[in-house]
């Protein structure tokens, strides 16, 4: 293996040595975390967690889960999937509950919806995932946490179209980048907020990377998370970085409902820990 490929995949941009200082000037210098989300609880913002499900009665979630759906693969159904309502969602793994728990800890009054897209049929995974994302667009979700991705090239176009539809519907898609050094969708589209892990633990300290595709770095290393069956455990992965930014995005949207997806990205950049404001 050539030496240069031994660098960490995407989170390399967020190691202490690699973080670049950025400058906010003019009107952008006036955007502060206090302005952006101070005193916001994310109240009323609809947040979908597209994942392994969410355990609705996990104590850490304090009844913030409002319902959800299960997307099942079905080779006999139209487009090969079926969507079932899931009033009291469960989690087949624990991963979705972990993401929901992080979002809830940051935006305690946001409404969380579980979109379970994982099942035993591996062949249907990308289809289920796409159908779940489509459901969030059709059902007026405002922020969508995608700690999942596909690296299947044939789904590039479909996910790109869905990401565009979400953008035009004023939604923010927040996607964890792949932990494996290869392209993954939809995390690498420009309209999506892509997130990798950094080493810190303060939930509101995140960084912006001026050399995309990966734009944001948030805590994702040794994060204590909720897991299914009422459990907790300590996890590491970009999967756990994305929900931090999802939570902050929900806070911003609750406080500033007039903002559009690209304005929210601008606000996120302006409030990144490596952005210095010129007075």
């Amino acid at each position: 293996m050539p030496e240069e490929t031994l660098r960490p995949a995407w989170s390399q941009h967020f190691t202490p040595d690699a973080i670049q200082e950025l400058l906010a000037q003019g009107p952008f210098a006036k955007i502060t975390p206090e302005w952006a989300w101070g005193e916001s609880t994310g109240k009323g913002v609809r947040v979908a967690v597209v994942d392994s499900g969410v355990e609705y009665d996990h104590p850490a979630l304090e009844h913030c889960v409002q319902g959800g759906v299960v997307v099942e693969y079905d080779s006999k159904a139209k487009d090969n999937y079926r969507i079932k309502s899931d009033e009291k969602p469960l989690d087949v793994s624990g991963h979705g509950t972990a993401c929901a728990g992080i979002i809830h800890s940051i935006a305690p009054e946001a409404e969380i919806y579980s979109v379970r897209v994982l099942g035993r049929n591996m062949g249907g995974r990308a289809i289920q995932f796409a159908a779940g994302l489509d459901w969030t667009i059709e059902n007026d979700m405002q922020v969508v946490n995608l700690s999942l991705s596909t690296s299947l090239e044939e789904f590039f176009g479909l996910f790109h179209d869905l990401a565009d539809q979400a953008y035009f519907k004023n939604m923010n898609l927040v996607s964890a980048v792949n932990n494996i050094p290869e392209p993954s969708y939809p995390s690498l589209y420009s309209s999506v907020i892509s997130v990798a892990a950094h080493e810190g633990h303060d939930p509101f300290t995140y960084y912006y990377n001026p050399n995309p595709p990966v734009e944001f770095g948030a805590p994702g290393i040794d994060v204590e998370v909720a897991w299914n069956k009422g459990q907790y455990l300590v996890c590491t992965g970009n999967s756990f970085a994305a929900p931090h930014i999802t939570g902050i995005t929900a806070l911003i949207r609750a406080k500033h409902p007039e903002l559009t997806p690209f304005q929210i990205k601008t606000v996120l950049l302006a409030c990144a820990a490596n952005t210095k404001r010129q007075k």
């Binding site: 793994s93 624990g94 991963h95 700690s147």
Partner: protein, 265 residues
């Protein structure tokens, strides 16, 4: 590998092509002696590289929709091998379903880990790093786990990313080794047929070797015969390698004409 398993022709020709491309790319056949030896060497290396007390590999068992422990090393050794988990169970199941690696610690708190089972082996790890094994054509063929970081309480992101790269190499080797196993019979049939048709040279030795290989008594030695053949041919030079590819391409095309391809999952 079930020798009676219905081999799909379309898939077969794809596999042949893939195998040949990789052989040509490497310039010589670097075929592993057997799948088990290869897996063992991978987990040994993984445990050493990542400073783990134990390591294991689970591979997909499509018929049973399960992940099966194929090899393990360290404290978790022996009894694990052969044990199966449904796709949607546990940390390995999540990694398999999503293709995303995950590192956890305080695993005792995690009931998904299936404590009854872990306790029965007398080994419950404190930390786990689990990574998907993804073949070069993007199929997830299994999960590799390293357990219990020796010098730290958990595996870090750097471990995760390095393990991703290590797993990529491992997956390619495992995938190739599995393909060799499944295409063995077809390859032998093809070579036999071509040896029979080639009247320009005496191929009687090759024919008898292939006859023996086809008896299926000793699959490992069959594979070695084939590996040696590849080695011999690829070692001769570009023209010979090309000839070999032509031979096998002809075989693949011939197979296409003898039966209509069926969809196969």
């Amino acid at each position: 590998m079930n020798p009676d398993k219905d081999i799909n022709e379309e898939k077969l020709s794809e596999q042949l092509q893939r195998l040949l491309i990789s052989i040509e790319a490497s310039g010589r056949a670097v075929l592993p002696k057997s799948n088990d030896v290869l897996l063992k060497s991978i987990v040994d290396a993984a445990a050493r590289i990542f400073g783990a007390a134990a390591a294991s590999i689970l591979l997909v068992n499509e018929e049973e929709e399960a992940l099966e422990f194929k090899v393990s090393t360290g404290e978790a050794d022996h009894d694990l091998v052969g044990t199966k988990f449904p796709y949607d169970r546990g940390i390995a199941g999540y990694v398999f379903m999503t293709g995303q690696p995950i590192a956890t610690s305080n695993v005792r708190e995690d009931k998904r880990f299936n404590q009854d089972f872990a306790k029965s082996t007398g080994y419950v790890p404190d930390s786990i790093l689990a990574t998907p094994l993804i073949s070069s054509d993007d199929r997830i063929i299994g999960v590799m786990e390293v357990l219990d970081k020796i010098d730290a309480t958990s595996f870090d992101l750097h471990d995760m990313e390095l393990m991703g790269m290590f797993a990529q190499q491992a997956a390619m080797a495992i995938d190739m080794s599995q393909q060799i196993d499944s295409i063995e019979q077809a390859l032998v049939r093809g070579l036999k047929r071509l040896a029979k048709e080639d009247r320009t040279q005496d191929s009687s030795d090759l024919k008898s070797a292939l006859d023996q290989a086809h008896s299926g008594e000793n699959r490992t030695s069959d594979l070695l015969v084939l590996a040696d053949l590849f080695n011999d041919i690829s070692g001769l030079g570009e023209a010979e390698r090309k000839a070999c590819i032509q031979v096998l391409t002809t075989f693949a095309e011939y197979r296409k004409t003898t039966s209509a391809p069926r969809r196969f999952r």
